[in-house]
């Protein structure tokens, strides 16, 4: 069995959930609820397009640009980057995902895509499946790993093996997320064309 070095560098405390960002999250969620309650077309389109664009761009950028750069950096630099980057992602991603899906569902209802007789209904069901796959990956593997890494990095002496094992989940799921995001782009452009 391997071991953790007792003389490892001491970690500095940091916020796992950036509290300063919570009012912004609340504001966005209230905005989504108001857009749904008023059936405001522009508000729904704004939430869906802005949220969806950010979600896809962040997923692809983090997975295929930031990820490989991070893996080539020395471990202490990786740790420092993760301590600053991951707490923000903990707020940003669930917020834009909720914003995108809630507004998207209402738009699909408004446009009649939810009706089984609509010729584009199949595309909506395929998009549900894509979101389902991403939800399982994000909620069962990535989200918990993200939080666990942050708790580990906050310890006086983080275990590098724990951090490495948890970070492997990001590497393994990058391909799945990338394929699903590209599928989303195809489905969404097919729906509106």
């Amino acid at each position: 069995m391997s071991a953790v070095a007792a003389d490892a560098p001491v970690a500095q405390p940091f916020e796992i959930v950036p509290r300063k960002g919570l009012p912004i999250v609340a504001l966005v969620l209230v905005g989504v609820v108001v857009a749904i309650a008023r059936d405001a077309r522009w508000g729904l389109v704004f939430c869906h397009v802005v949220g969806g664009g950010l979600w896809t761009a962040i997923d692809l950028f983090v997975g295929f640009v930031i990820g490989p750069i991070l893996r080539s950096m020395p471990p202490p630099a990786r740790v420092e980057f993760s301590k600053r980057f991951m707490p923000k992602m903990l707020l940003v991603l669930p917020t834009i995902v909720t914003m995108t899906l809630a507004a998207g569902f209402q738009l699909a209802r408004q446009d009649g895509f939810l009706d089984t007789s609509n010729p584009r209904h199949a595309w909506v069901v395929v998009s549900f499946c894509v979101v389902g796959v991403m939800a399982v990956v994000a909620l069962a593997y990535l989200g918990p790993a993200n939080v666990a890494v942050l708790f580990e990095l906050r310890k006086p002496q983080p275990d590098p093996r724990v951090v490495q094992k948890l970070m492997q989940r990001f590497v393994y799921t990058t391909g799945i997320t990338g394929v699903m995001q590209i599928a989303t782009l195809v489905i969404m452009t097919r729906l509106v064309s």
Partner: protein, 133 residues
Amino acid sequence: MTESLVDRKLPPVTEIGAAAMVAVAVGVIFNAAYLPKHAPTAVAVAILIVAAALETTNLFLVSRIQDFAWARFKQVAGWFLVAYAVIAGMIEYAFIYDDTRGTQLVILTLMLVLFMLNVPVLAAFTVARYERV
């Protein structure tokens, strides 16, 4: 020198939780694909029972773990529950707003409850398994 918690053998809570999540996702997609009409109730209920059974198994397995960081587990699960109650509440609001009624609303609500309970368990377990007691 202290032993790494990576090598600790624990029940497959993440895998079972992911399977429950798949069942919930399939159930919600199955029901949502039929909106605004009603999906066949028997199939939807069967999926619901599978998801509930998997989550119950998970709770049982977690409850039997010895020398576990329960304080951390409860802390993380509690905050995740608050966050996902808000998200599930928003989804439920959308279902009601869109005139989803009767058996379909009951099934979708129960699936949302399972979703809301599953995510905190998965997150809390992943954090607590690497905490020393």
